[in-house]
Symmetry: C2
Subunit: 345 residues, 2 copies
């Protein structure tokens, strides 16, 4: 099948998007793949398949490749005397800003481009951790208690130490730190505020059980991945996550009871349904005293969480053939006509 992967973006996660894209090139062999790179200035480039390696980007070689502009149904490559259309199904693989904040979703919707990825609403509720809490409250999903801080007033923390501090709108552990006592607080807050003007504080649960579950909706039903218990150190810092984004080997199924697996799936459905249609997402859960808590929603997981799926290629194909349609309003001029008529014009 034909699939175009969009990656890069003006995001702190720009590099891991490149790594993700390179990983998918390997995982989706046999597909008719194209790659479109969005650089930090929001210029789009068509990347030759043979050039899909990290140095093409780090050395700026991509700038010699064909520029594209977004257009109805896809992207257009204009040369002196002709223009070539790139259409079909796209996969939004821009992690973080641009890709996960709703921008690419809005662009794709506006230009009627078919894509795998979260829609605008879904992006807002997964990108900003504060709004993920609102989603949890509204849908009866448990999540850890939290406090929100803005850069102006950042001292009174009521949650007892240790706490984990996160920029509200970044993924991949960027700017995240664990603060074990008051003396470390300022440093932790500074690290987070470097990346965002809003920060959330949660209790840090040492040794908590963590489980990841991915899935997507196709043909009216949710297709789940296996459940993984991720190997972890205290938490993954950016460098480790970076390596994590290039994962391509099948993960091991977590050794959990059917009851817990079913609880995790129920929570996944509560998150997903009527919001994330069109996307393959990974939910990261905590389990405390047998209760499932949502930690984070990854609406564009690193390398699409390929390592969690029994048959990743079939999964992507299923999803690509079951994308939601956005019904565009039909415009008419009934009222203007009737008013013009009343005025005798």
């Amino acid at each position: 099948m034909k699939l175009t992967i969009l990656f890069g973006g003006a995001s702190f996660e720009h590099e891991i998007s490149i790594v993700s894209a390179i990983t998918l090139k390997g995982k989706l062999s046999g597909f008719d793949l194209s790659f479109i790179f969005c650089d930090q200035d929001h210029t789009f480039y068509l990347i030759e398949l043979a050039k899909m390696k990290a140095t093409t980007f780090s050395k700026g070689e991509y700038k010699k490749m064909h520029k594209l502009s977004i257009s109805k149904g896809g992207f257009t490559e204009k040369s002196m005397f002709s223009s070539k259309e790139h259409t079909g199904v796209f996969l939004n693989l821009i992690h973080g800003a641009d890709g996960e904040d709703g921008s690419i979703a809005a662009l794709f919707d506006f230009y009627a481009i078919k894509y795998i990825g979260p829609r605008i609403d879904a992006s807002v509720f997964s990108y900003d951790k504060r709004y993920t809490k609102w989603l949890c409250n509204a849908r009866g999903i448990k999540s850890l208690k939290h406090e929100e801080l803005s850069s102006i007033e950042h001292d009174n923390i009521k949650i007892p130490y240790p706490v984990i501090i996160k920029p509200a709108r970044l993924g991949s552990s960027i700017g995240v730190s664990i603060v074990k006592e008051e003396g470390e607080l300022d440093y932790g807050l500074d690290s987070a505020f470097e990346f965002d003007s809003s920060v959330i504080v949660e209790p840090f649960l040492e040794g908590v059980k963590e489980y990841n579950l991915a899935g997507f909706m196709a043909n009216g039903e949710i297709h789940f991945s296996i459940v993984e218990e991720p190997h972890k150190e205290e938490f993954l810092d950016f460098e480790k996550k970076y390596m994590d984004f290039s994962r391509s080997e099948r993960a091991l199924k977590a050794d959990i009871s059917d009851e817990l697996e079913s609880k995790l799936k129920k929570n996944f459905v509560k998150v997903y349904k009527n919001l994330f249609e069109g996307a393959l997402i990974r939910c990261d859960f905590f389990v405390v005293d047998g209760e499932v808590y949502l930690n984070e929603i990854n609406p564009i997981p690193g390398s699409m969480a390929n390592y969690l799926f029994e048959d990743f290629k079939v999964s992507i194909e299923l999803l690509a053939n079951s994308l939601p349609h956005t019904k565009r309003a039909k415009v008419n001029y009934d009222y203007i006509h009737s008013i013009s008529k009343a005025k005798g014009k």
Copy 2:
């Protein structure tokens, strides 16, 4: 001052956006105004000032005008041998879909265009009435109890009659009906489901006191309009609202106590702050037993609620000079460099 107004859109509120734009042409005389029309196919046209009248659009005459494409910092007009840039500050005046659902916000942010209007997050929380309820819950703002229905299961209503039925994602009273008894329910639901797959049901409070308050943030403080008690029949249907969108005469200040005015303003601030920066919004409140309830947020009110402001031109100028900056992430290739180095490449 120079200001470009974007209007139209592929929306059920396409016509009222045209009316809004024509009204603003009159209200912002003295400004260096331009008008860009977005038609239902999402093609942009530069409309000559003299042609800013309803029939230009209803008769399709706009199609003869210059086409524009969106580009960094604004719009570009390409002719055979040259291209002309349209930059400066834009005002997003597309009501409903496209304008209020986050699409135009995302486009403008992506292309680094300065604009008056709600940002992506703010759009999501005002466009979908279900998410407005989540906002209210999270921020301690009272709102009427409600039920959500999806097109599949639409019979069990627990709220006692009379109720008001609204499509979740439309403004301007489109698809809204008041249902006084069970016998009218199916018709009310059908009307709403014609426009949206999600519908909300609220109690209909006959004769409830309603107050509208608009405002915006500039130079770090909120600038409020007067409070108006809108004249109303049971509720405004689309045709009446349509006329309402061309309002240009100063409204009368509602005869209310300082205490109530201050309560309304406090609620406005709870809605606005750290979400609607960059936009001039109108909040419609109900008052029941002295308590303020948020009914609706209009993030792009009809004709920008010009009739509520003491000096509308000064207000728009203040806002245009105080737009929020989106800090774009600086991309670097530190990790790729360090990994390449470690590999000896």
